[in-house]
């Protein structure tokens, strides 16, 4: 899902960068208001953890690649979609600059997909599902699954707009594979949140607060 340089024309990359910068500014506002002495290590360790999760790249049919995203995990643990944007921005910067995993001119696009879409879908679907199901594992699983699938579909649409991959084939390939990857993402997210809430309940802020920063 990490689109590399050259796959999106420079002018489209610039548009995505501008949109991403708006959300990055909001995420920075979240960080200024919410990131206290206690939360900073959690934010940093979540970023490193998501980096590790995203390291497991799996090849997808039709040539695409799939991996876990982690947007829902960050948003749910820290209780805000802006936390996911902040954390995913850190992760994507390190991945792009150190490993060449995801491009520089398309960093804005990748932040929109995994941070903005992943974070918002993960957080609000979790909140909505919690209201309906009253079950934390079910809500977390479904939220993480959606937060993996929808950014992948957005990626396919962006590649189509860029003219580097046809829409139907891209949606089918990315959709099917990320629907499967999403199941793993859901299980991992449930396991991680369950373990953290059991071992260190003080660390988790399961969407109790309304998201600030916006």
């Amino acid at each position: 899902m990490h689109i590399p340089d050259a796959f999106i024309p420079i002018w489209q990359g610039a548009i995505y960068w501008i949109i991403a910068l708006v959300f990055i500014a909001l995420a920075l506002r979240w960080a200024k208001n919410e990131m206290n002495e206690e939360k900073l290590p959690l934010v940093a360790v979540l970023a490193a953890g998501i980096f590790a999760l995203q390291s497991f790249n799996l090849p997808v049919s039709m040539g695409t690649s799939g991996h876990l995203v982690g947007g829902a995990l960050a948003a749910i643990i820290l209780g805000s979609p802006f936390a996911a944007i902040f954390i995913l921005t850190l992760v994507l910067i390190v991945q792009a600059i150190l490993f060449g995993d995801g491009g520089i001119t398309v960093l804005g696009t990748n932040i929109i997909n995994m941070g903005v879409i992943g974070g918002f879908v993960g957080f609000y679907s979790f909140k909505g599902l919690m209201g309906v199901t009253k079950s934390m594992p079910v809500s977390v699983f479904l939220a993480a699954w959606l937060a993996c699938l929808i950014p992948a579909l957005a990626c396919a649409v962006e590649m189509f707009l860029a003219g580097t991959f046809p829409l139907t084939e891209g949606l089918v390939a990315m959709g099917i594979y990320h629907a499967i990857i999403g199941v793993i993402e859901g299980i991992v997210t449930v396991a991680a949140i369950y373990l953290i809430t059991t071992a260190r309940p003080d660390l988790v802020d399961i969407g109790v607060k309304t998201p600030s920063g916006a």
């Binding site: 590399p4 200024k32 940093a44 490993f99």
Partner: protein, 275 residues
Amino acid sequence: MIESLFQIERDANRDSVIHRIDARVKIAIAFAAIIALVAVPYSTMIYTVGAIFFAFFCILWCFTGLSPLVFVKRALAIIPLWGVIIFFQIFLKNKYYTTYDVVLSLPFGINIYAQSIEFAFILLVKFAVCISFIILLSSTTKMQDMLEGGARMGLPAEFALALGMMIRYLFVFGYMFRKMNETLKTKCFDAFDRHLSYRYRLRQLGYMIGTMFIRSYEQGERVYTSMLCRGYGRESFLFVERKSLKGPEWAFLSFSLLFIIVVPVAVWFGQYRFF
């Protein structure tokens, strides 16, 4: 990826003319080269621009004192993943061409087009040369220097602070990952062993990820507590000393940026078209 982290940092800790250049200069040159390459339209002129940029990269790499194998290994770890998408381009039509000539017809109505092959090569050249500059940057710049360089170039303080801590945790995660892998191996646990129930394997992996997270967090928390003891507070930010670029660094930066701008423009006007 997390395993190659240690190798990248070892390469970055070596000493050479390129290693000693200020991180800001290397970041600016790498980013400028990538932006210039991406800005070149999807046309065959990228072959010339790409060849000249790659020659420039090779000259810089020679001064790093790193083996070409380091570059080849790292490139091979990145390129194949998206190389498959590039390969599939040969079967697809795109909006950048109006007419398509069939080179080869395959069963099930699949065709390979001359223009699609050309487009695939254009993508490959752009992608490969962009990746080369990222490999050069990360193989010759320590993470801490990169962070300080970024902070000096205007990276917001919140990002710089969190990135600094994240980089530390990355190594903690790396060590934890190794240790836990060894522990599982001594217990003869294999996640791909079909004799074990799927549920059991998933549970073990879930516990491994969660434990890795908590152990890394607690290790980091101890480091962080010691930071607090030494006077760290909410208003503290990463201290980055002001540092001016030296004369030779300015000269190298100016020459490189000029080169990066002039080459595509010159090729655009067709004066130095080699292919």
